[in-house]
C-alpha cells in the first residue's frame, strides 16, 4: 500500500471520493507523520483529534452516499495566526501564550465547512514578522532541506515557515499561510512547494491576527498548483465581518486550470534585475522565460520604474500599521500580564510588552511609532503612501502590455539559520521581489523552478492583475509542467 502522506490534496480528495482509501487512514498517516517530525518544530500545537473527526465525517458522508465536500478527507496545517476556537492561538508570541480564542477565523471556518480537518497549529515568525522563522518565541522551525554533506540547519523561510516545512516534509498535504510582504511566497520558494497570495480582499481577515492590515492576505501553500487552486477556492469568499473583503463570487479556479498560454503575454520587469543577483537566480529566471515561450506565451520586457522604492515604502507602511495593530496587547484583557509589585498602569504596559514581544516585533513597533510621530508623519508615512500609489500605477501600466509578470521569488535559496539574524537589513532584502505585489494588492504565486548548486529549491514568481488568480495559476501551472520539479528533502529528522 502507498504511503498516503506522499499524496497531495487532489489525490487525497479523489482517493477518498473514489473509495481507494478511507479519510481516517489519511488522517492517521499524517498525524503519525506530524508526531514523528517534532525535530522540525513546525507545529506549535498538534490537533490529531480534529483531523480524525473531520476524516470520520467524510467517511460517514461517503458511506451514506452523500456528495462529498470539496476538501472532504483532506487534513491540513493551520498557521498559528488564524484564531481557532478552543485551540491555543499565539502568533508565536509570548504575549499570547496560552490564549485560547472563543471564536474561529473566517478562513479556517471556511476550510472546516469545506470538509478539511486540522493536523495542528503551525509555527511562524512572531506576529508574521520575519523571513526565516527565527523570530518565533517558541523556537525556530528548521527546514527539512539540507545542503549536501552538511547538517547546518537551514531557514524554512518566513513568516509561514511552519507551513512551508509541514508541506515540504510531507507532514501535511497543504497548509494555510498569510502573506504581508512575501510570507507565503518566499517560504514556498525556500522549500520547493507552491503558494499563492490572492488579490487583497479575496480572503477574509476576520479572526486572523493582524500584522499590517492593508497588506495581510491569507492563501494556501501546497505541493502543486492544482492543490493550491482547490484550497484557495475553499478559503476565499466575501465576508461581511471584514470591511475590506471583496464582494465577489469565488471563481472555480481548479476547473479552469490550463497550462496553454497561447495568446498570452508574459512581462519581464527589467527593474527586477537587481545588483548582485546570484547567477543561478538569473539563470532560473531565463529558464522560466523559455518555459513561458514554450507554453505559447509572448515575452515582453516591461518597466516598473518605482520598484526600488517598494522595500523602503513597505518597511514604513507595514511597521506603522503594526505599531497600532499590536497596541491591543496591553495585559489588560487577555494574554500575558506582567504587573510588578506596586506598579501602575503605565508600568504594567511597559513590563507586559517588554516581556511579551520579541526583539523583531519591538523593532517594528519602534519603527512604526517613529514614522507616525508628529513631525515625521509626512516625511515617512505620507511619502510611503505616495510611493505605494506609484507602484500600483507601475503595475497598471505594465498590465497594459502583458497579462502576467514573471520574476524570481527571492534573491537567493534558503540561507542557514542565524546567518542573517544579526543584520535586519539583509533579512529585509529577502522580500525585494515579493513586496511590490503586496503593496499593489495583486495576486502572486511562487512555484518551484529548480535547484541551486547545493540542491536547494529556487522559486519563480508569477504576478497577475487584480482578481486574475486564474491567469496566475495558469502561468504557474505552465512552469510546473515544464520544470518537472520532483525533488523532496530526505528525511533526517
Amino acid at each position: 500500500m502507498t504511503d498516503l502522506t506522499t499524496l497531495g490534496i487532489t489525490a487525497i480528495r479523489d482517493g477518498v471520493r473514489d473509495g481507494q482509501f478511507k479519510a481516517r487512514e489519511v488522517a492517521e498517516a499524517f498525524n503519525a507523520k506530524v508526531a514523528g517530525a517534532r525535530a522540525l518544530n513546525a507545529f506549535l500545537v498538534e490537533t490529531p483529534d480534529h483531523a480524525l473527526a473531520a476524516a470520520d465525517a467524510a467517511d460517514a458522508a461517503r458511506a451514506a452516499g452523500e456528495t462529498l465536500k470539496p476538501l472532504a478527507g483532506v487534513p491540513i496545517g493551520m498557521k498559528d495566526l488564524f484564531a481557532t476556537k478552543g485551540v491555543a492561538t499565539t502568533a508565536a508570541s509570548k504575549i499570547l501564550e496560552g490564549f485560547v480564542p472563543p471564536y474561529e477565523s473566517t478562513v479556517s471556518q471556511n476550510l472546516w465547512n469545506a470538509g478539511a480537518g486540522m493536523l495542528g497549529k503551525l509555527n511562524l515568525d512572531q506576529f508574521a514578522m520575519g523571513s526565516s522563522n527565527e523570530t518565533s518565541a517558541f523556537g525556530n522551525v528548521i527546514s527539512p532541506w539540507r545542503r549536501p554533506n552538511d547538517t547546518a540547519p537551514l531557514a524554512p523561510g518566513g513568516s509561514s515557515g511552519g507551513s512551508s516545512t509541514a508541506v515540504s516534509a510531507g507532514l501535511a498535504p497543504g497548509a494555510t499561510g498569510t502573506d504581508t510582504g512575501g510570507s507565503i511566497r518566499q517560504p514556498a520558494a525556500f522549500t520547493g512547494i507552491s503558494g499563492i497570495k490572492p488579490t487583497y480582499g479575496r480572503c477574509s481577515r476576520w479572526g486572523t491576527i493582524a500584522f499590517a492590515s492593508s497588506l495581510d492576505q491569507a492563501g494556501p501553500m501546497a505541493r502543486d498548483v492544482r492543490d493550491c487552486a482547490i484550497m484557495l477556492e475553499a478559503m476565499a469568499g466575501f465576508d461581511a465581518k471584514d470591511a475590506t473583503s471583496l464582494k465577489l463570487d469565488v471563481p472555480n479556479w481548479e476547473a479552469a486550470l490550463s497550462a496553454d498560454l497561447k495568446g498570452k503575454k508574459v512581462g519581464v520587469p527589467k527593474e527586477y534585475r537587481v545588483d548582485g543577483m546570484p547567477a543561478e537566480i538569473e539563470a532560473l529566471w531565463q529558464q522560466g522565460i523559455d518555459w513561458m515561450r514554450d507554453a505559447g506565451a509572448e515575452i515582453v520586457e516591461v518597466s516598473l520604474p518605482h520598484t526600488k522604492y517598494a522595500l523602503p515604502a513597505y518597511y514604513i507602511i507595514a511597521p506603522a500599521e503594526a505599531s497600532s495593530n499590536l497596541a491591543r496587547y496591553d495585559g489588560v484583557r487577555y494574554g500575558l500580564r506582567d504587573l510588578p509589585e506596586g506598579a501602575g498602569l503605565q508600568d504594567m504596559y511597559a513590563a507586559t510588552r517588554a516581556a511579551g514581544f520579541g526583539d523583531e516585533v519591538k523593532r517594528r513597533i519602534l519603527i512604526g511609532t517613529y514614522v507616525l510621530s508628529a513631525g515625521f508623519y509626512d516625511a515617512y508615512y505620507t511619502q510611503a503612501q505616495k510611493v505605494r500609489t506609484l507602484i500600483a500605477r507601475d503595475f497598471e501600466r505594465a498590465f497594459g502590455e502583458c497579462d502576467v509578470l514573471l520574476t524570481p521569488t527571492a534573491p537567493s535559496a534558503a540561507f542557514a539559520l542565524g546567518e542573517k539574524q544579526a543584520d535586519p537589513l539583509a533579512m529585509y532584502l529577502n522580500d525585494v521581489f515579493t513586496v511590490p505585489a503586496s503593496l499593489a494588492g495583486l495576486p502572486a504565486m511562487s512555484v518551484p523552478g529548480g535547484l541551486d548548486k547545493d540542491g536547494l529549491p529556487l522559486g519563480l514568481q508569477i504576478i497577475g492583475k487584480a482578481l486574475d488568480e486564474q491567469g496566475v495559476l495558469n502561468a504557474s501551472l505552465a512552469i510546473e509542467q515544464r520544470a518537472g520539479f520532483t525533488a523532496r528533502p530526505q528525511a533526517w529528522w
Binding site: 488564524f82 480564542p101 465581518k241 470591511a243 500599521e321 497600532s324 484583557r333 507616525l372
Partner: protein
C-alpha cells in the same frame, strides 16, 4: 443681550468660546460592532469581541450611525462629504481596548455648517447670531474605569466602548456664557428633532469640551484652554465664566495662559489643570487600514435628506404664520416632544372652528399648568391631542364657555374621558335658552334688591356682580354673551 465683558484692572476683556460637543448617536448598535448600546446595563454586558479588541477582530461601519450623522449635518446646512475616511488616534489607556480610537481627523463626514442662536430667548423674533460649525465627524467612545469598586484595583466597564459619537466642533464664534448656553440648547433641540441623539446630558449622551480664551476687544485671539467633558448647559456656562475670569486674573498679574487641558469641578464651580500641551499625547493619527474610505451614494444622501423632519426654526416660522405669538411659537418649538404634540393638536383641529392661536394659548396656559401640577412631561400627558382638539372645538362653537371648558378639562385629566362624553354625561353643556336665563335673572334681581338699587342709581360696576350671580345660579352653563344681553335689559328695568 448686551455685550459680555469682564472688567479687569486694565480695562474690559472679551471672552472667545468654541465648543466641541460629543453627542452619542441614537442607534441600537455600536459604530463598528453589532453590540447593543443600552444605557445603565450591567457592566460588560454590551460588549462584543470587536469592542474588547480580541486578536483578529475587525471593525465594520454601522451605516445607521453614518446616516444619523449625515442627517445632523443636513439639519445645520452643512456640507456633506460623500468621501470621508476613518483615522486611528493612538494612545494607551485601560478603557481603550484597541489602543486606538477610530475617529476622523483628516477627512470628516460633515464639513462647514451653521447654527442660528437667538440672543434673547424670550423673544425668538429678536436679534440672532450665526455660530459656525467647523465639522462633524463620527468616532468611537471609550469604556469607563471604575475606581470605587475595590481598595487597590480599578475595574473596566466596556459597555460604552465602541459606541458611536458625533463630535460637533464649533468655530470660536461665541462671546459669552449665555451665547454658549443658547448654542448648546439649540444644538440639543436640533439633535432631538433629527432624532440623531437623545441629548441627555445627565446620562452622558451629550457632553462638551469647552475652549475658552480672553482678549482685549479687537485684539488677536488669546491662548486657549480646553475644559473637558462638561455635562450640563449650566456647568458649561459656569466653566466659561470661571475660566475667563481666571485667565484675566493671570494675564493682569503679568502671567501667561498655558495651552492645556482642564477639568471642571462641579462642586466648586472651578477648573483645574489636567495636563499641559507639553505632556499632550502624540496621537500618531493615520488612516485606519482596516476600513476603506467611506463613500456615500447619491441614493443614500437623498434618503437622508428626504427623512429630515421640519426643524425648529422652520416650524417656529410656520406657527407664527398661523397666527401664534412669537413667544408661544418659540415655547412650543423649543422641545421636539412639545412640537410633536402641538402638531398633533393642529391636525386634529382641522375642520373645526378653533383657531391655532387659541389652541397655542390653551396649551401654554392650561395644559402646561396642569402638567406642571401633575409633575408630568408632555409625552406623559393624560390628555391626547385629539381630546384637546375636541375640547377646543366645543369652546369655539359655543358649546362650552371658558369656565365650563376648565371644568371639563379637569375632569378629562382625572378620568381620561373625552370632553364630549363628559359634557353629555354631566350635562355641562352651556345654554342659550333665553327663557331659562330670563327666569334665573329675575330670581337674582329679586334676591339682591340693594345691589339692584345701587346699580340703577348709577353704580354700573355692579354689572359684573349680577353676571356672576346669574352664572353661579346656572351652574356656569349659561352662554355668557346671552347672559350679558338679557341682564342689561333686565337691569335697565
Amino acid at each position: 443681550m448686551s455685550e459680555y465683558r469682564i472688567q479687569g484692572a486694565s480695562g474690559e476683556w472679551e471672552v472667545v468660546i468654541g465648543l466641541e460637543v460629543h453627542a452619542q448617536v441614537t442607534s441600537n448598535a455600536k459604530l463598528f460592532s453589532g453590540a447593543a448600546t443600552a444605557f445603565g446595563a450591567e457592566p460588560n454586558t454590551q460588549v462584543s469581541l470587536v469592542d474588547a479588541a480580541m486578536p483578529g477582530m475587525l471593525p465594520v461601519p454601522n451605516m445607521e450611525c453614518i446616516r444619523q450623522a449625515v442627517r445632523t449635518g443636513m439639519a445645520i446646512d452643512a456640507q456633506i462629504n460623500k468621501w470621508s475616511r476613518f483615522d486611528r488616534k493612538n494612545y494607551f489607556y485601560a478603557d481603550l481596548p484597541q489602543g486606538y480610537q477610530i475617529s476622523q481627523l483628516y477627512h470628516p463626514l460633515v464639513g462647514e455648517g451653521t447654527i442660528e442662536i437667538s440672543l434673547d430667548e424670550k423673544n425668538p423674533d429678536g436679534p440672532t447670531k450665526s455660530i459656525g460649525v467647523e465639522r462633524i465627524h463620527v468616532e468611537q467612545d471609550a469604556g469607563k474605569l471604575m475606581h470605587d469598586q475595590h481598595p487597590t484595583r480599578s475595574y473596566v466597564d466596556l459597555n460604552r466602548s465602541g459606541v458611536a459619537l458625533m463630535e460637533i466642533v464649533s468655530r470660536p464664534d461665541m462671546r459669552s456664557p449665555a451665547e454658549a448656553g443658547a448654542y448648546l440648547r439649540k444644538l440639543r433641540a436640533i439633535l432631538r428633532y433629527v432624532g440623531s441623539c437623545d441629548g441627555n446630558m445627565e446620562e452622558g449622551s451629550m457632553r462638551a469640551d469647552v475652549n475658552v480664551s480672553v482678549r482685549k476687544p479687537g485684539d488677536e485671539f488669546g491662548t486657549r484652554t480646553e475644559t473637558k467633558n462638561v455635562n450640563s448647559v449650566r456647568f458649561v456656562m459656569a466653566a466659561i465664566e470661571y475660566e475667563a475670569k481666571r485667565q484675566v486674573a493671570v494675564l493682569e498679574d503679568g502671567g501667561k495662559i498655558v495651552q492645556e487641558t482642564r477639568l471642571f469641578n462641579v462642586e466648586s464651580g472651578t477648573t483645574r489643570s489636567m495636563r499641559s500641551k507639553e505632556d499632550a499625547h502624540d496621537y500618531r493619527y493615520f488612516p485606519d487600514p482596516d476600513l476603506l474610505p467611506l463613500e456615500l451614494t447619491d441614493a443614500f444622501v437623498e434618503e437622508c435628506r428626504a427623512s429630515l423632519p421640519e426643524l425648529p426654526d422652520a416650524k417656529r416660522r410656520r406657527y407664527e404664520a398661523l397666527g401664534l405669538t412669537a413667544y408661544n411659537a418659540g415655547v412650543l418649538t423649543a422641545e421636539v416632544e412639545t412640537a410633536r404634540w402641538f402638531d398633533g393638536l393642529l391636525d386634529a383641529l382641522e375642520g373645526t372652528s378653533a383657531k391655532p392661536a387659541q389652541a397655542a394659548n390653551w396649551v401654554a396656559a392650561e395644559l402646561f399648568g396642569a402638567l406642571n401640577r401633575l409633575g408630568k412631561d408632555i409625552t406623559e400627558s393624560p390628555v391626547s391631542p385629539a381630546q384637546a382638539a375636541e375640547l377646543l372645538a366645543l369652546v369655539a362653537d359655543g358649546t362650552l364657555s371658558g369656565s365650563l371648558s376648565k371644568q371639563v378639562f379637569e375632569i378629562m385629566l382625572e378620568t381620561g374621558d373625552g370632553p364630549s362624553k363628559i359634557v353629555e354625561e354631566r350635562g355641562l353643556k352651556q345654554t342659550s335658552d333665553t327663557g331659562a336665563i330670563e327666569a334665573v335673572i329675575a330670581e337674582v334681581l329679586e334676591k339682591n334688591p340693594n345691589q339692584l338699587g345701587q346699580y340703577r342709581a348709577g353704580k354700573e360696576a355692579l354689572f359684573g356682580f349680577f353676571v356672576g350671580q346669574t352664572m353661579k345660579a346656572m351652574g356656569g352653563k349659561a352662554n355668557p354673551a346671552v347672559v350679558n344681553d338679557l341682564l342689561k335689559k333686565a337691569l335697565a328695568g
